[in-house]
């Protein structure tokens, strides 16, 4: 619960509320001073006419995913799409792709993300195949939404869905992407035993291009409740 949602609090609860607020402020300060990993800046790959394409994805080299239970650390599997990746020649053009094999069992909640790489962001699309490689369904393109910095689709698995094929979306490649991001940083400075935390803000516009290349991350979490 966000603490500022409550407009007024009874004074009798002041001590515990105060304590909670202080803990939250302290936690956030720790978060703020934490290191922030900078993603690599890779130029967008817009032309894959030189790639050797096939009509169907190669399932033999599927990346095997690992299911975790809710509450445990997820074990994402990643793939990098570039000119060395597989290529499919589809009805709307060529696209680079990676195949992920789902674990047995289920049902699972599966998270598929396109991770921005500076100036390039893989324009993703995803389809699901059965064990024979026959397409069972496609994820709607609109199901990819930004969640934090990553473009992510979440979906729940159905029986018989064995492979997830994530590929670039040719009609989207080359289009610009502009996002605004507001940030707050906290810097703690000390002198003579007195420490002060100074908060500063930034407002940054980032420019990128939807591309064939990029990084894909897939996490699989079991929908079954964790054992207690």
């Amino acid at each position: 619960m966000w603490p500022w949602a409550t407009q007024r609090l009874p004074s009798a609860r002041w001590c515990s509320d105060m304590s909670t607020a202080l803990r939250i402020a302290a936690l956030l300060t720790v978060l703020c001073v934490g290191a922030c990993a900078t993603p690599p800046d890779i130029p967008p790959l817009l032309d894959i006419s030189a790639a050797q394409c096939t009509q169907q994805p190669d399932l033999a080299n599927a990346i095997v995913t690992v299911a975790t239970v809710d509450g445990d650390s997820e074990k994402p599997r990643t793939a990098t799409l570039n000119l060395r990746s597989g290529c499919i020649d589809g009805a709307d053009g060529r696209s680079l792709y990676a195949v992920f094999a789902m674990p047995d069992g289920g049902p699972f909640t599966i998270s598929v993300s396109s991770l921005p790489q500076g100036r390039s962001v893989l324009a993703p699309r995803a389809r699901i195949l059965d064990a024979q490689g026959v397409e069972v369904r496609r994820l709607p393109p609109s199901s990819f939404l930004f969640r934090g910095p990553n473009l992510t689709a979440l979906y729940r698995s159905h029986p018989g869905e064995h492979y997830l094929v994530v590929s670039s979306d040719p009609p989207s490649v080359g289009k610009p992407l502009r996002r605004l991001q507001e940030n707050v940083q906290a810097t703690t400075a000390g002198a003579g035993g007195i420490f002060v935390t100074i908060y500063t803000g930034t407002d940054i516009a980032s420019e990128a291009t939807w591309s064939h290349n990029g990084e894909i991350s897939v996490s699989v979490v079991s929908d079954k409740p964790a054992k207690k």
């Binding site: 949602a5 105060m18 369904r137 934090g148 996002r179 991001q181 507001e182 100074i198 908060y199 930034t202």
Partner: protein, 262 residues
């Protein structure tokens, strides 16, 4: 110079009032820093809607969303936050003044953000083929409900519960380089009417203010650059555009909630 706080009738504030003001300051400071960060621990994990497995959901009853009728005008970082209680008191006072001034402008413009948002939710659900009906429901708190009507309302297949945690305008800091932009934070949940099963659950944030550290998995919407106001005076100098920007943010949040139940 800032003196001891006085109440509205000019007397010195009571200890409780001072404590209340101090808590509001700390809450405000936390709020500013936490616009996005707290989404990570705000709810249980995201649950994506499985449309194929729930094709019988045709009519959605939208529970009256939890939403303050007045927006908040946040300054996410400033000097006051670093100056202890005195700074926090000044900060809270300025915050209250901004909220009041913007609220008055909103009233003068005849804008009702809660009604606009509800209409946007209707439109977003209808765009995905659902029939929509409103379901009045008393809310014991500002967050999502803990329990839902058992057995369902006539003709309603699922309830959509939405809590707008906060909305309005936010600037990441002072200065022209950190303008005010609209923001919205919303929790949402779709619950099957017949048995209360949670079919979808997520958090949507329009224009999150991000802190370093782990990033939340909430759906994040980049703000529309058309609604940029370099400072509070600029924001209030163009009330029609300011209200439009706020309504655009609420509309985009509603559209994303619709996408989550497609």
């Amino acid at each position: 110079m800032l003196g001891r706080p006085r109440s509205a009738d000019g007397r010195f504030a009571t200890t409780d009032a001072v404590r209340g003001a101090m808590f509001r300051h700390i809450r405000h400071a936390s709020a500013c820093l936490a616009l996005a960060a707290l989404t990570a621990c705000a709810t249980e994990r995201e649950i994506p809607f499985d449309h194929a497995a729930n094709s019988g959901i045709k009519t959605i009853g939208v529970l009256q969303p939890s939403m303050s009728p007045t927006p908040t005008i946040l300054l996410a970082s400033d000097i006051g936050q670093s100056l202890g209680l005195v700074g926090l008191l000044v900060d809270a006072s300025m915050q209250a003044n901004r909220d009041k001034q913007f609220g008055e402008l909103m009233s003068a413009q005849g804008v009702k953000p809660d009604a606009n948002f509800l209409a946007d939710v209707h439109a977003a659900l209808a765009a995905h083929g659902y029939s929509v009906t409103d379901v009045p429901e008393a809310r014991p708190s500002a967050d999502l409900l803990k329990t839902y009507p058992k057995g369902g309302t006539d003709g309603v297949d699922a309830y959509l519960d939405i809590a707008i945690v906060n909305y309005g305008y936010v600037a990441a800091g002072i200065g022209d380089s950190t303008p005010y932009r609209p923001f919205v934070g919303a929790h949402c949940r779709l619950v099957r009417a017949s048995d209360g099963a949670v079919l979808m659950q997520d958090v949507v944030v329009y224009n999150p203010v991000v802190t370093a550290g782990p990033q939340p998995r909430a759906v994040t919407i980049s703000p529309d650059p058309a609604y940029t106001f370099k400072d509070f005076d600029t924001l209030t100098a163009d009330p029609a555009n300011a209200m439009k920007g706020m309504n655009v943010a609420l509309g985009d949040a509603a559209t994303s909630i619709g996408t989550l139940v497609q």
